[in-house]
């Protein structure tokens, strides 16, 4: 029995390997330029727990690629977007990025929203010398993987400092409680940088409590937070939990402002949270009502393409990542990995939907954050914070 199964096993895998033998790939970026199209790979969480973020970012990327192709393509060729779903699961990005690079021969990779999945794919892109641009992974470690890895968003240390300064300057809060999602590395990172920034600005943390993302009942912790009498509460988590936290805080009579980061941004925040979210603040990458031409035309194009949906920050960043890639390829005059990488690293004041992007030495984007407040059930732009 064992022998039979081993033979079958060996046979199946041999077939698989032989199949792969037909398209050998070297380390230099594959044959993505052949056949008249430039192949760009994208990996995103189109299904699974974080499907909403992945779907948004994918739509933004798709829109950008379509616009470029409509305008005649790039370097005389059309762009072909090859998207793979990583199911919001750890372990998948490694497989799909290997697939995109080795089998499909893409010249660059766009992705991902979640820092943990970006971190999984980054070493593979780095090893194969394929430039990778993450639309919205905010963990600093992503770009530290290597010099082929970039991002078009600001990083958590910046965002944390932004909110710390916002708390002291605008909210005039001297004592803040911090409520962190212990299941999310994004939340923990943001909380850490906020606490550092806030302490530097002379503030005092009255209480630090944790919850598990996906929990429905926060009253126990909120009661403890209330007992510490803060001037405001920092909740660096995702909108589903934030909405419930706001509701329950109000029920408990915790009537101080709550504020957080870009994880708050979703129209579901108001739908789920209702009145309880009114008056609270959060930082994010862009706002659809910022009055620049670039934002207005992007919003219009997106609504036309996707049945009237208003693009959120993920969509805008997905769009920007693709646009930046195209711009870098144009400047480099080629799709060669090394040249595109150099062009990306040299990016200065690139006019993106989410602001003017300059890529710094660490391959992160130096750009401004915006702070929004919930007013009348809508997100109203409050102020811009420059780095």
């Amino acid at each position: 029995m064992k022998r039979l199964s081993y033979l079958l096993a060996g046979g199946a895998c041999a077939l698989l390997l032989l199949n792969g033998c037909n398209k050998p790939s070297d380390g230099g970026g594959g044959s993505g330029g052949s056949g008249g199209t430039i192949k760009v790979g994208e990996f995103a969480s189109l299904t699974g727990k974080e499907a909403t973020f992945g779907a948004s970012s994918h739509e933004g990327t798709q829109l950008a690629i379509e616009e470029i192709n409509a305008g005649g393509g790039l370097l005389g060729k059309k762009l072909e977007l090859l998207t793979e779903d990583d199911l919001s699961k750890a372990g998948e990005p490694a497989t799909v990025v290997n697939k995109l690079i080795s089998r499909d021969g893409v010249v660059a990779i766009l992705g991902e929203v979640a820092s943990s999945r970006s971190l999984e794919a980054a070493p593979i892109c780095q090893q194969n010398k394929i430039p990778m641009i993450s639309p919205s992974s905010t963990n600093p470690k992503v770009t530290e993987t290597g010099d082929y890895i970039f991002r078009v968003c600001f990083i958590d240390p910046f965002q944390g400092t932004v909110m710390a300064n916002f708390a002291t300057k605008t909210l005039k809060a001297k004592k803040v409680a911090v409520f962190t999602d212990v299941k999310s590395d994004y939340s923990k990172g943001l909380a850490k940088y906020f606490k550092e920034g806030f302490a530097k600005a002379g503030g005092q943390i009255t209480a630090e409590l944790d919850f598990n993302g996906g929990d429905k009942d926060f009253k126990a912790q909120l009661t403890a937070i209330k007992g510490s009498s803060p001037d405001a509460v920092f909740v660096p988590a995702y909108y589903t939990d934030v909405a419930l936290i706001c509701i329950q805080a109000k029920q408990l009579g915790l009537n101080v402002p709550l504020f957080g980061g870009d994880g708050w941004e979703s129209d579901q925040l108001v739908k789920i949270g209702g009145d309880a979210v009114e008056g609270n603040y959060f930082s994010t990458h862009y706002a659809p009502d910022v009055a620049t031409d670039k934002v207005k035309s992007f919003v219009a194009a997106y609504q036309k393409r996707f049945q009237g949906k208003t693009p959120d920050a993920m969509a805008a960043l997905g769009y920007d990542s693709a646009m930046l890639l195209a711009d870098a390829m144009k400047r480099a005059g080629s799709t060669d990995g090394g040249k595109v990488r150099d062009a990306l690293a040299a990016t200065k004041d690139f006019d993106a939907v989410t602001g003017k992007i300059t890529i710094d030495q660490k391959r992160d984007a130096t750009k401004s954050a915006v702070i929004l407040q919930v007013q009348g059930g809508k997100f109203k732009y409050l102020e811009t914070v420059n780095p």
């Binding site: 299904t47 499907a51 429905k216 009661t223 403890a224 419930l244 579901q268």
Partner: protein
């Protein structure tokens, strides 16, 4: 002291919901001696049923109103009772004579099937949906504590439902039949009890309770999504074991105790991270030291 009473109120509300769900688990275990993994998903289906019924109900009873909420709950409970009966008919009944393991695996399969089908974008989609506010909300202060009207309604409803359940099980014919079947299958059959009918009824009743629990849960935490039943379901199962599986008052007691323990633990900064694990730790402890549960009787395994 304030903190203690505040947590007490929070805990009671949570515990009542666990109790309602636990009742379903324990009833099914009582008559069939197996754990219906899919019970937690009936909870979710109840919440979604209410989500879709609510706009229609809003025409008849403009929300928020108690009557409107009751209307929605009754309808949703009815739908889920039917779903529960169907699940039993299609998935468990054909396997009635098979080894327990087979049915257990099937139950897991049914649970996963419901969860992932609902996650598919053609059905409900994976993202969280806002649950409508069905009950009139009053926030008031009771001796310095913040109390929300929902926090009072939930335990009240649970008590009423428990009383109704007690009545059904103790005083009606079908209830007596349920108790007979859970005591001894074969003897009950010999006495002319239709086993199939009793089992269907049990599933229907348990599912109806789960649906109401799901709606109450969604009222407290107004974001619903296809996987929302997993955690409460697991906790409720542990509660049922805690109280003594197969024992109705035990399930209610277990639910309350677990709800309170979780709430108090959640408010203590040192342990709050481990909240997920606390329920399981309790399960392991109970099974190690008093496997029959708080109110259960030890069962001797006959050879």
């Amino acid at each position: 002291m304030d903190w203690f009473f505040q947590q007490l109120i929070n805990g009671l509300a949570l515990g009542s919901i666990y109790a309602l769900i636990a009742l379903g688990y324990t009833m099914v275990y009582g008559v069939l001696r197996f754990i219906n993994f899919a019970h937690s998903d009936v909870l979710m289906l109840g919440a979604f049923a209410a989500y879709f019924i609510a706009p229609a109900a809003a025409h008849l009873f403009p929300p928020p109103s108690y009557l409107g909420a009751l209307f929605v709950m009754v309808l949703a409970a009815g739908i889920c009772a039917v779903i529960g009966i169907l699940i039993e008919l299609l998935a468990y009944r054909p396997l009635r004579d098979r080894p327990k393991l087979t049915v257990l695996i099937t139950a897991i399969g049914v649970s996963l099937f419901i969860e992932f089908t609902c996650q598919h974008h053609a059905v409900f989609g994976a993202s969280t949906k806002p649950f409508p506010n069905l009950l009139p909300q009053h926030d008031f202060r009771l001796a310095g504590l913040a109390v929300n009207s929902t926090d009072l309604v939930v335990p009240l409803m649970t008590v009423v439902l428990l009383a109704a359940l007690w009545f059904i099980v103790q005083k009606t014919k079908i209830g007596t039949a349920m108790r007979a079947v859970s005591f001894n299958h074969q003897a009950a059959a010999l006495m002319g009890v239709s086993i199939n009918r009793v089992i269907s009824f049990t599933f229907g009743l348990g599912s109806a309770l789960a649906a109401i629990a799901g709606i109450l849960y969604a009222l407290k935490a107004p974001g619903i999504e296809p996987l929302m039943g997993v955690q409460p379901g697991l906790r409720a199962f542990i509660a049922a074991v805690l109280g003594g599986i197969g024992n109705l008052p035990g399930a209610a007691l277990g639910g309350l105790v677990l709800g309170l323990l979780e709430t108090f633990a959640g408010g203590m900064p040192a342990i709050s991270n481990y909240r997920d694990g606390i329920a399981f730790a309790i399960l392991i402890l109970i099974l190690l030291f008093k496997p029959a549960g708080l109110l259960g009787k030890t069962q001797v395994e006959k050879v």
